[in-house]
């Protein structure tokens, strides 16, 4: 049981990831899908942040006076932080593109349901063939 509590944030991250994933797959509404996607991304940040954490340590911003004799055990791992940063930027960009895409889809099909959109397209195809 100790192990379980020790990795609690990771567990939370994984469950969140699952929730996001199922949302992405199951939600009909595209906006909800994107929310699911964001939950997924966020869970990864949580996971990464938890991985970067070291007990009894602070963010890796050193003071100028310490230069030359920095003890790395005092600080958390900067690498996951950098990764989280990148992840956030990517997720923001993707979200923006997806939202614009949704705007266009809504203009085109007047619906936010991806199944319905596909349905409309198939119908168009069939009419085309007639």
């Amino acid at each position: 049981m100790s192990v379980f509590f020790a990795n609690l944030p990771e567990y939370a991250a994984m469950i969140l990831f699952g929730i996001g994933l199922s949302n992405l797959m199951l939600a009909k509404n595209l906006v909800k899908k994107i929310i699911g996607l964001n939950i997924m991304d966020t869970s990864v940040y949580l996971f990464l942040a938890a991985k970067g954490y070291v007990e009894n340590s602070v963010a890796p911003i050193v003071s100028a006076s310490d230069l030359g004799h920095i003890e790395h055990t005092l600080y958390t791992n900067p690498v996951p932080a950098g990764l989280v940063l990148t992840g956030i930027v990517v997720s923001v960009s993707v979200t923006a593109v997806l939202l614009s895409l949704i705007v266009r889809l809504n203009e085109e099909f007047h619906t936010l349901d991806i199944d319905e959109i596909i349905h409309i397209l198939r119908k168009r195809d069939r009419e085309d063939l007639k």
Binding site: N7, G18, I61, V62, N77, T86, A96, V97
Partner: protein, 254 residues
């Protein structure tokens, strides 16, 4: 199989899949290194190097900034490019093509939200200068304290949006034209790319570079990190603004 049944089957399958996925991942996590232990595999020479040698070598007290803009600058260049291409994609999607007159642009402005709320407008007017200042500070001090180009740029972008909403399109677009956006973004990214190309080239070929660490702790220190932070901030803020304007009305003023 009719559509409903198929949907239900799909839902059940997805749920099962998710549950399986979560259980596998939980199992995996249990087998992974414990949280926060100092002897975890990721606390290794790399981390040690970034924290202990990094500030001295790069001149950036913030080890994260030093890492992302110096050691892993290529990643960060890629990140900026992600922003750039996502903006390009938003343009592709939303930009109203052809000889759309200003009138059409104004006509479709804010289709989905109320305009000119006085309370909001006034509050924005109050906040804008402070937010701008804050964003610039975060950017400029990115190598010394928490923050950096991305966060600063985001704040500046937010300030731009506030400005737009406080003073209206007409005023804003006097300076925020499509040309400005394009030129500034291009210049910032080009500078970033060219500068980093230079350091990559010198670094990889073992040549001396002009880049110096300076005195750690000063604003003007840490070599290229400060200019790069500024570039990143510019790109981020411009991207945020442009995306907003695209979603809002499908194009800049001519």
């Amino acid at each position: 199989m009719n559509k409903e049944k198929r949907d239900r089957l799909y839902a059940v399958l997805c749920t099962v899949l998710t549950i399986v996925f979560i259980s596998v991942m939980l199992f995996t996590v249990e087998k992974m290194p414990d949280l926060g232990r100092a002897d975890n595999p990721d606390i290794n020479e790399v981390m040690e190097f970034y924290v202990e040698e990094g500030p001295e070598e790069t001149g950036a007290l913030n080890a994260v900034t030093g890492m992302i803009l110096h050691y892993r600058a290529f990643d960060t260049l890629g990140e900026s490019c992600v922003l750039f291409v996502s903006a390009v994609c938003v343009f592709i999607l939303l930009r109203i093509d052809g000889e759309a007159s200003n009138d059409t642009l104004v006509a479709i402005d804010r289709r989905y939200e109320p305009t000119d709320d006085p309370i909001l407008t006034q509050t924005f007017k109050l906040l804008v200068p402070a937010v701008f200042m804050f964003g610039i500070y975060i950017t400029m001090n990115g190598h010394l304290s928490p923050g950096g180009g991305f966060s600063g740029g985001a704040i500046i972008g937010a300030a731009l949006l506030l400005f737009l909403n406080a003073y209206g399109l007409e005023k804003t677009e006097r300076f925020m034209s499509s040309q400005l956006y394009r030129r500034v973004t291009t210049m910032a990214l080009c500078f970033y790319a060219v500068a980093k190309s230079y350091t990559f080239y010198t670094g990889a070929n073992g040549l001396d570079s002009f880049e110096g660490a300076g005195t750690p702790g000063n604003i003007l220190s840490a070599g290229l990190i400060l200019p790069l932070n500024i570039c990143v901030a510019v790109v981020v803020s411009m991207t945020i603004y442009s995306m907003y304007i695209m979603i809002r009305k499908g194009g800049f003023n001519k």
